[in-house]
Structure formats: C-alpha cells, structure tokens
Amino acid sequence: MVFNSITFLIFGFIFFPLYFLTKGKGRLWLILLASYVFYGWWDWRFLSLIMISTFMDFNFGKLIGATQEPHKRKLFLIFSMIMNLGFLGFFKYFNFFIDSFVSMMHAFGFQPAVTSLQIILPIGISFYTFQSLSYTIDIYRKEIPVERNLLKFAAFIALFPQLVAGPIVRARDLLPQMNEDKKFSWDNFNSGLGRILWGFFKKVAIADSLAPFVDNCWADPTKFSSSHLMIGAVFYSFQIYCDFSGYSDIAIGLARIMGFRFVENFKTPYFSQSFSEFWTRWHVSLSSWLRDYLYIPLGGNRKGKINTYKNNMITMLLGGLWHGANLAFVFWGFLHGLYLIVQRFITPVWRAFVKLVRMPAFINSGICIVTVYTLTTFAWIYFRGGSLGHHSFTVANQVIGRILSFEEFNWNSVFNKYQVIKGIILLAFLLTVEITNRRFTWNRVQLYKPALRIAMVAGLIWMIALFGTFSANAFIYFQF
C-alpha cells in the first residue's frame, strides 16, 4: 500500500478512529494487525519474513540479556546478525554476487554453469532489517533494556508509517514511547497533518512532476543535448530528495498523529557546506545507523589518518551497497567515500585561503554549498543508473559524457520545456519554503495561528491541484 493512494486514505479513515478508541494491549494488536495489512497489501507472502525476523530477534534479545558471559552474548548477537544479514543477503544480493562471480570467471576465461534465481525483493527489507538489528546490538552493548513483551516488540518492528521506507527508528527511541497510552491531541493532529500535506506535496507535485523528464534522460541520453541532460541531472537530485524526504515527512506526520515522535530524516541537505555535514542532513536515520554500528566499531577516526580514510571508505561503500545490488550503487558510495577523504585534505587549505583573502562569510558559504551540491549531483547520476541493471554504468557515463561535451548547450536544444518550466517553478517554491522555514518553522507557527494554518493547508491543496501528478507512483526508496 502506498501513502499516495485511495486505498491508504480508506485505510487511514478506518485505522485512526479505532486507534484512539483502543488502549493498551488492544491498541498494540491494532497497530500490529494494521501494519501487517499495510505491508501484506503488496505481497502477503513476505509477512512471514517479518514475523520470523521479529520472533527471532525478540528471543535473541532475551538470550543476550539473560547472560553476562561476554562470549555467549557475542555468540547470540552473531546469530542475530547472521539471520538478519542472511535474509538481506539472500533476497537482495544473491543474484548480484552470482552475476559478479560469473563476470569475474569470464574475465579469467572460464565459463561456469551457474544460473541466477528468480528472487523477488521484499519491499522495505533493508529498513526493517537494520531496525531489528539495532535492537539486538544495543542490548549487547547494554544500552537498552530487554523488551519482554513480544506484542509490543512486534508492533515496534512493524509500525506501518516507517515499515517500508524508514526512517529507521531505533528501539531506544521508539520502544519507550510504546509504553505510553497516547491520547488524541489537536496539536499532534495539526502538526502531523501539516507534515503529511507537505510530504504529499513534495512527492506528488515535485518528485512525480520531475520524474518523466528524468526518466527520458536516462532512457537514452544520446538523444539529448548537454543542457537538456544537465537539467535532467539537477531535476533528479531534487526528485530523489523530494520523493524520499516526502515519504519521511508523511511517515513522521502519521506517527505524530498517533502520538509518536520519529527522528528527523532530512534537514535541508542541499544547503550543506561540506560532505560530512551532508551526511548529517541526508537520510539521517541511515547515516547515523552506519556511523554508530559500522564506522565507530571499525575505529572511526581514532586510529590515525589512514585508518580514518579506510573506515570512511568502507562505511560509504557498504552504504552504497545497502541501496541496491548493483555496482553503480557501490560506485556512488565510493564517490562519497572519496569526497569525505579528499575533503579532509582540502578543508585546512581552503580555510587558510579564505582567511588570507578575507573572503566574506556568505561568499565562502555559497562556494561550499554549490561545490557540495554539484559533486553530490554528479554522484546521483551513477545512483540513478543503478536502477537500470546491467547498463547502469554505460548509461551514467553517457549522461556525464554528453553533459561535459557542452554540445548544443543552449535553451533551444532543451525538449519538454513545459516540464522544465513547471520544475523550475516548483523548485523555486521548495527552496523558498526551506530557506524561510529556518527562520519561521512554519509547521510550528501554524499550531498557534489557526488562520495561518487554514491559509497554509488550503494553499498547499491548491498547489497540489495545480501541479500534482496523480498516478500513484511508488516511492523510489521502496526498492531499497
């Protein structure tokens, strides 16, 4: 079930009144059943996977918590990791590893008789696996208590707003909130509705409007001019941002209505002035997960420069692989790893230069923002190619090659100007809201000013009616 569908609207009309009519155990049952219906709407067979994962991690958590012997605790944690990463590895990466193995064998002149399996990727597996894994790791680290109530734990894993595309809400943040009996609150309702509507606008009006232009660019880049493809690359950077952050906004808003507080997943990432800052603003729940459970355990930046570079690169490569079983995603991770490493060299030199020439702060910030955005968009070109299977690198290289050729670099060579103008209007609106939001925090202000709330909500609905693309397109991050 996708948020931008009539089915979900009906689901919401049934779920929310029942949610506030129930309490305690009944409410937990309702959350669990509704979340399973929400997930099973796509393919009920994969519910068993969530159930197994939930049941096993619940018990692994109990086993880890029941003993103080370090090696036993570690053993149970390893079992939990094998199960979780095993599911993920099999469903998401099996064919990727087989194909990579076959390609490698071909390169050495062998012809292995290996066949790939027809495996369907269970939607959201990367998200709930990481969520579940964080629970057992945190118990192992003695950072959270063991959860004794299977129903509550299952509801925590399956909670529908975040089940299929995050944010990856950790046990330490969400499980304590599930102990409270949430009451209906108008503040939560208004605030949640504001977030939902804003997320819906980002998805339906911006991301889905930019999608056809972007899809054409990547379908056959050789057909288009340099300027057309450059616009396509910029549009894709905003398409993926609005698609994913739009989903997060809807998830956060739905949770807010239910009385839950989710972590912020996006904090205006394209205003970052460095790559390390970018990763504290983009997909925060994943980047902080990778930082806490991979980068820091690897040693972080504590064991010298070389190890820091190595840890940065490993984290980003695995972050790339998390997004999908394709070398283009890994390469995207590699580029970001490289950016983080190079930044460590360049930053001191740049700072010295800024000081030397007495560069005004706003110019320095502007240059940094544009540089980070440009290089991030460059990496997105490979990322977008990642969903094209075997041709991913060829297509991405074609896009980059044609952009850098500057052949026919003019407005006349741009096709679909209607989509371009519409895109520019929408992006100008998005950036205006994001910039002014830093000062006014619109979603908070509207809580205290009903007239402003009415104007904002009505305005957004009118904007959606004028610019929305209504074909229930799935969210990009579902595939991860």
Binding site: K223, N412, Y418, I421, K422, I454, V457, W462, F470
Partner: protein
C-alpha cells in the same frame, strides 16, 4: 463546537479559493492569443484550417499564407489525441466558414490517454470536449468538476499563458537535425498502427465538412528520408477508403 466552526470555515475557504483562482485562470485563458482561445473567442476566421499533431505544426502557418495568399488557422498541437483533434475541428467548423480543411493523417494513431486531460482547460467552452473527456478520462473529468484549479494542471494552460500577449503563429518545431541524429536515423524506425476507431473519427470529420460544402484534404508531412516508416501505405489506404 469551536473546532467544528474552524473546519467548516476551512472547507469554505478551500472551496471559495479554488473557484476564485479557477475563475482568474479562466479569465487569463479567455484573453490569451493562443489558438484555441482565439477560436472560442470568435477570432479564428480563416480560409484554410489545419488540424493535426506536431507534424501538422510543421505546415508553418505564416509561410502557407505567403504561398497561397489565403488566411490560415492552425488547430495543431504536439501529440494531439485524434478524438480531441476531430472535436476541435468540428467546434471550429460550427463557428467559421472555411474553404479548405487540411488534416494531417498521422493523428490517426494518436490515442495517448495521458494527454487528454490537458484539454480540461478548454472544457467549459465545448460540450464536445467535455463529453470526450468524460468518456475517456473520467477520473480527470470528475476531479476537474470538484476542483476548478485542476483544470489548469496541464501544458495546454501553460501555453495559453505563454501566448497571453502575443500570437502563437511562430510556433513550429525549429530544431536542426544534427549530423549525429541524421546518422542515427538510419537504424531507427517507426511503425504506424491504424486503430479503426480513429479512422472512423476522421470519416466523421470528412462527412461533417462535406455536409457544409467544405473541401477537406487528408495530407501527411514528409519524413526524414533515412528514417524508416512502416505501414505508412496502410494508413494512407485505410484513410482513403474510409473518407473518399
């Protein structure tokens, strides 16, 4: 009770704002120099009327006027759906007496439902457009009844705004075929389909013209010589059979 009051007030604002903005956009469309606005406003008088898709747009109106010495009016639009092309032509013929209608026959295979909602902008002026949209894209039709703003969520409206203050007779496809594209044309092809429903639409248009003693000619713009066009003869033959 106070909350209910706010909710009712909100619905009122939402509805009134929708109608007000819709009215404003409609007003702008009415004043536009775009072809359909001019036609429905009564400023489309001509000797020759052209109807077709982007290939029809290449029958460059100012040049045709220069070559024939006759005033021309184009109803062409990129990827014009055949159903809309025929009803626009009929609307035109109801309003103006022309000598000749030129119909670019490659519209016979244009039935892209995604493009139909674009014409919700001109729905209030034409019962024919209204009924085509109601039958073919009912969701969009219903939505455009609920929200008048939604009627302007399309490219047609944007063009109407673009041509708000100047004539659209400079609109034609002015890209140069680069050497690379010319080479690629060798390996490319297009295959025409001939949906019977659209052949009948053209027949209906032909009958409509003849009933009014208007000369109708079915034409097709030239294709790039290296580009393979499959079933073009079939299109010509079927249209000829149905309309002669």
């Amino acid at each position: 009770m106070k909350k209910a009051g706010w909710v009712i007030f909100f619905i009122g604002v939402l509805f009134a704002g929708d109608r007000l903005i819709g009215w404003f956009f409609q007003h702008e469309v009415e004043k536009s120099q775009f072809r359909y606005s001019r036609m429905y406003r009564g400023e489309g008088k001509a000797d020759i009327m052209i109807v077709g898709n982007s290939r029809g747009l290449n029958f460059y109106q100012p040049y045709m006027e220069q070559a024939t010495g006759k005033k021309t009016f184009s109803l062409c639009y990129y990827s014009m759906p055949c159903e809309i092309a025929t009803v626009l032509a009929e609307d035109y013929l109801d309003r103006y007496q022309v000598q000749t209608v030129l119909c670019e026959i490659s519209i016979v295979e244009m039935s892209e439902d995604k493009l139909l909602p674009g014409f919700t902008t001109y729905m209030p002026y034409s019962k024919r457009i209204d009924s085509v949209l109601k039958a073919k894209v009912n969701d969009s039709w219903v939505t455009s009844q609920v929200s008048h703003i939604y009627r302007f969520n399309n490219e047609v409206f944007q063009r109407a705004l673009f041509y708000r203050n100047h004539l659209d007779d400079d609109w034609f496809f002015d890209h140069t075929i680069s050497e690379r594209l010319a080479k690629e044309a060798l390996g490319s092809s297009v295959e025409f389909k001939v949906p019977e429903k659209h052949v009948q639409d053209l027949k209906q248009l032909a009958d409509y013209c003849r009933a009014r003693n208007i000369n109708i000619k079915f034409v097709i713009g030239p294709f790039f010589p290296l580009y393979t066009v499959k079933h073009l003869d079939l299109v010509k033959k079927r249209v000829e059979e149905a309309t002669v």
